[in-house]
Symmetry: D3
Subunit: 246 residues, 6 copies
Amino acid sequence: MKILLANPNITEAVTDVMAAEARRSASPDVEITAATAQFGAQFIETRVEAAIASHALLDILAAEADGYDAAIVSAFGDPGLAAAKEMLDIPVVGLSEAALHTAYTLGRRIVIICLTPRHRDWYGESAEAAGLRDRIVNLRVLPVAVRNISTVVEDLADPLFEECKRAVEEDRAEVVILGGGPTAGLARKISDQVPVPLLDGVSCAVQMAESLARLPIEPPRRGGFSRPDPKPTKGLSPALATYFEG
Amino acid sequence: MKILLANPNITEAVTDVMAAEARRSASPDVEITAATAQFGAQFIETRVEAAIASHALLDILAAEADGYDAAIVSAFGDPGLAAAKEMLDIPVVGLSEAALHTAYTLGRRIVIICLTPRHRDWYGESAEAAGLRDRIVNLRVLPVAVRNISTVVEDLADPLFEECKRAVEEDRAEVVILGGGPTAGLARKISDQVPVPLLDGVSCAVQMAESLARLPIEPPRRGGFSRPDPKPTKGLSPALATYFEG
Amino acid sequence: MKILLANPNITEAVTDVMAAEARRSASPDVEITAATAQFGAQFIETRVEAAIASHALLDILAAEADGYDAAIVSAFGDPGLAAAKEMLDIPVVGLSEAALHTAYTLGRRIVIICLTPRHRDWYGESAEAAGLRDRIVNLRVLPVAVRNISTVVEDLADPLFEECKRAVEEDRAEVVILGGGPTAGLARKISDQVPVPLLDGVSCAVQMAESLARLPIEPPRRGGFSRPDPKPTKGLSPALATYFEG
Amino acid sequence: MKILLANPNITEAVTDVMAAEARRSASPDVEITAATAQFGAQFIETRVEAAIASHALLDILAAEADGYDAAIVSAFGDPGLAAAKEMLDIPVVGLSEAALHTAYTLGRRIVIICLTPRHRDWYGESAEAAGLRDRIVNLRVLPVAVRNISTVVEDLADPLFEECKRAVEEDRAEVVILGGGPTAGLARKISDQVPVPLLDGVSCAVQMAESLARLPIEPPRRGGFSRPDPKPTKGLSPALATYFEG
Amino acid sequence: MKILLANPNITEAVTDVMAAEARRSASPDVEITAATAQFGAQFIETRVEAAIASHALLDILAAEADGYDAAIVSAFGDPGLAAAKEMLDIPVVGLSEAALHTAYTLGRRIVIICLTPRHRDWYGESAEAAGLRDRIVNLRVLPVAVRNISTVVEDLADPLFEECKRAVEEDRAEVVILGGGPTAGLARKISDQVPVPLLDGVSCAVQMAESLARLPIEPPRRGGFSRPDPKPTKGLSPALATYFEG
Amino acid sequence: MKILLANPNITEAVTDVMAAEARRSASPDVEITAATAQFGAQFIETRVEAAIASHALLDILAAEADGYDAAIVSAFGDPGLAAAKEMLDIPVVGLSEAALHTAYTLGRRIVIICLTPRHRDWYGESAEAAGLRDRIVNLRVLPVAVRNISTVVEDLADPLFEECKRAVEEDRAEVVILGGGPTAGLARKISDQVPVPLLDGVSCAVQMAESLARLPIEPPRRGGFSRPDPKPTKGLSPALATYFEG
């Protein structure tokens, strides 16, 4: 099985962090390939950045997704996820979506740890878009600033762990999610020190993508996620323009 | 007062239809300027098209919004609206948002008429994003195909009117909204034949933009709609890149 | 354009405070006329007071609204608003409704400042009735007692401003609404000191009433806001009795 | 035990119909006294009529409720109910509220039969105000006109029964409520012909009022239903003015 | 009238506490008979215990309910309540359900006091199942451990009273419910010291059971609470096996 | 990896149908073992049957789950699922839960096909309990009676397929779920004839159980799904009694 991990931000070092955790999480017969956005912002926090990243993501997928069995939108907050599902005939999953579906099976009180204050709003809105907002009892923000987005696991393991403990003590969390792609790989290191299940978006997404690819599901030929009729376009990348030609 | 009407699709003939209704709706002291997306699709119906249109909209606004008192995201479904509100220091309103806020003040049972089946999903989702889904009792789809998106008012006045009547008879609509930018101008022609208030997104948006621009409101310096810190970018248009430099 | 501002409480000094802000907020071609309830309580805080005020409001409107282009129910909490919309063929807006619709276009986290504890419940219930409760993250109560309802702007500017700041700091408000008709005029004085948009019900209502009056909207001839059939009555004011005669 | 049944409309013949059913439903030691509104409309269907009726109801209660153990707001739709609960130290229940609480204990799918189209909106809104809207799967309207509000049980038994059967067949109702005070007494006549529990507002309200009066509940001295501080008033009935004097 | 009070846990001393309060609460013509589960846990706190208790409850009811006019599921959290309503042709009420319906008629802000932390989750979930979760503003947990479940009223009156006061002060409760069957009888002792209505599940359930038994309600012959067709079984108690034989 | 498939009804032929599909769906390294309830009903449709089945399920799991990596509650409607999650330290998934989580990733409009009318209510309630009710747009019931629960796939393939087509045509389903354990195996046979993704509970549950077992998740030591303190019991099976001893 081949899975495409598409990072909608432009920072390849973050792509590498996420791809490494994806490979640790994948079943032996699964090959992970990573791709990084060709335009956009260093890091996605705001609605403006997410809007641009959605376009950049579709550009990656239009150009690269051929021949894969599943794709991962590899940013917490899932920019462009619904559009990607609509565009491709293979299963597409997002980090937020995958972490939340996993969390719903494990407990009733979910807390997400956010790297920055802007993430709190965005992650809440993406949970609403996924229909999975009701069981999130809090979105907590790391009380220290993120200086280098590519070394979060090394630099911020301690404050992230402290925030997990507060989620359990103060919010009575039954499941904790480490939000943000840059935290990929930390959960498996500290999960035995947190007294409730601790989830990481990348590993949940890999497992969910594998599951969907293994199920005997046909792509839709009707409804809002089926392929639309062709439509004239202007100014798009060649791959995206080709998609619109039907 | 100067208002920028930004059409996120690439079809200038539709921009002209909407700008004409905007000028009919504006107060005497208001000047309307229209702009059209530089990339994207002919018409916005799908999640993919809306995602690309959001980027195209931000490109327009980054390049053109300077010196305006308010801006209108001139597509029903409001692609990129929240991002645009976040980006600009002036009030920004969308056609769906404006029509729905107006409808909420006029009745409890709202019906939106959609030009195509894909619009039904998208308009519903945009109403949810605006927090204004609860009073929409139906989204009806025109039973005939749209052949020319630029001449909807001329070509489809009769079936649109029939659908309005069905909304009243079958859905007990108390307010009807003609969805879609291309229908701009039709509501005022047929409103006296529909037994409940009939709304058009463009005229509602112009009135709402004027109102917000007249109120003594300061732009936010805190929270999720305030200006974020600068951030490195790659591959963006000069105007958008400049925005990210802060 | 002529707008009738109807105060459902019996205190003319409060009517004057609100009418002054209404005139400051109105467009040059708009004439504001104010009217005060002929029976009821000095100030509306409780469900009993609101119930009586609703009747008093309808009495004012039945007697006075002829010849106006729009009417304002000039009490925060909007007593009798839905009934007034049902009774009149012109647009009617309430202070809570107008402030909330405006707030929804400006941010996702709304806080209302209340003059007294009883207002907290009532304003929350009126927001629910308007379908606009979901984005209110807190209703804060002024920690000092209101001694003179007619001089709130002079007497309580400081504690009201402090509460606005707490709304931003503690509730992460993205929009703050100064609740209560008696605060009319304060928001424009202190809005530049509050780091998020600060709204006043009267000015929002004036702008919304103007907008609705300018739109080409016909009054409903069907549904729950249309004119009902005549019905026998007993013991009503002459104007209200006349309304029921159809 | 003494229960005051207060009819907020002005039609004494309807008061008599409801009082008769109340007496049939009451326990042997319970005495029912009925009172009729001194002003308002013949029949309550609209928001305007409900607003006036709320005031009329408070007038009745302020004048008459002394010495009673409980009171019933005897109109389906419960005009003025929350205000009445706030005003009195004895339990107060409404017909809609009582029928819905009873229905919730009997099934998951509730249907209300309405005498007129206007009732459908109002009963739905009163259910929302009571926090009991979620399980109402339909509000059905009698397809024939009501000619005499005082003889509904005699004149309309057949079409009401037909509508009950449709509620079971078409809406899969598990409980049916005969809405409207004028239908009082019909449910007990036809309940054995309807294959699911059939409820009548008056009998449910009598039972609920008795229950509340028998429980060892103290009136609130805190919160939104406790007695407020005195307040100046103008133009009120002597009894209501006395209430405001505290 | 004869009411069967069925305790789904195995502790007869708790059955006695609840039966005593039931008899204090019942009308003079009502006879209360109590029964205790024949298998299960000493005390019901967890989902596992509630699942087993539901079966034990159905066993009691299948064996004993014949000849009664109503039954009470006498554990807060209402284990097996919906199944019991489905099984019997007489009215069945639960302690949580009855306390919440009563509370809804008395105020808008409800707080439940829980004996242990596990109860907090369970009582919240049972309120959701009853459709009565929206007005619960807090579920508070007693800060001291319960040592003897049969003597809670004697041992824990003071901390329970303190928690009631905190509910009023900190949560602005308008109604307080003492959760848990073992607290039966305490509310009537301390209700005059709590400034808002204080409810006890057992007395509310007795009153509600009496009311339902007095109303002229027929058991359902259609829908999800009617008697199903016979079905083969294995390994059930004789009484339950007989029920399935139809 | 070893997965225990526990059928909460007593019919071994249905266990065999489900186990066969589970084995078809499992990854090569996964061993499926099936177990059948020792007491209860032939088929689970009603609340009474589900209550008894929950106990029977816990009995199976207490006796058999040792040494497994995950368990499946193998009945659509998920009787006892939350209790099973609470009881075991390994992941536990239900058929409804798994099918719904899968469906949420594939579309916005979900329809469940039910074998009998009673299932419609139960499946809806189990979706609510899982927090996954919002996107279910319809629960359709097979219009023909089920004569033999063990041969549904052979006997009823045609009417089930017809109902899937109606879900797409009439409900605009974007995902269809074949409800009921007895339908296991049918979806993969007909999925290419249904124009939207068609899901089967057993295969979704196997994939979800595998995913959860592969993720590095620790069992909870805090909160409502952690192991409770020991508690005295009476009349339970030896395995279940041992569980309560802690």
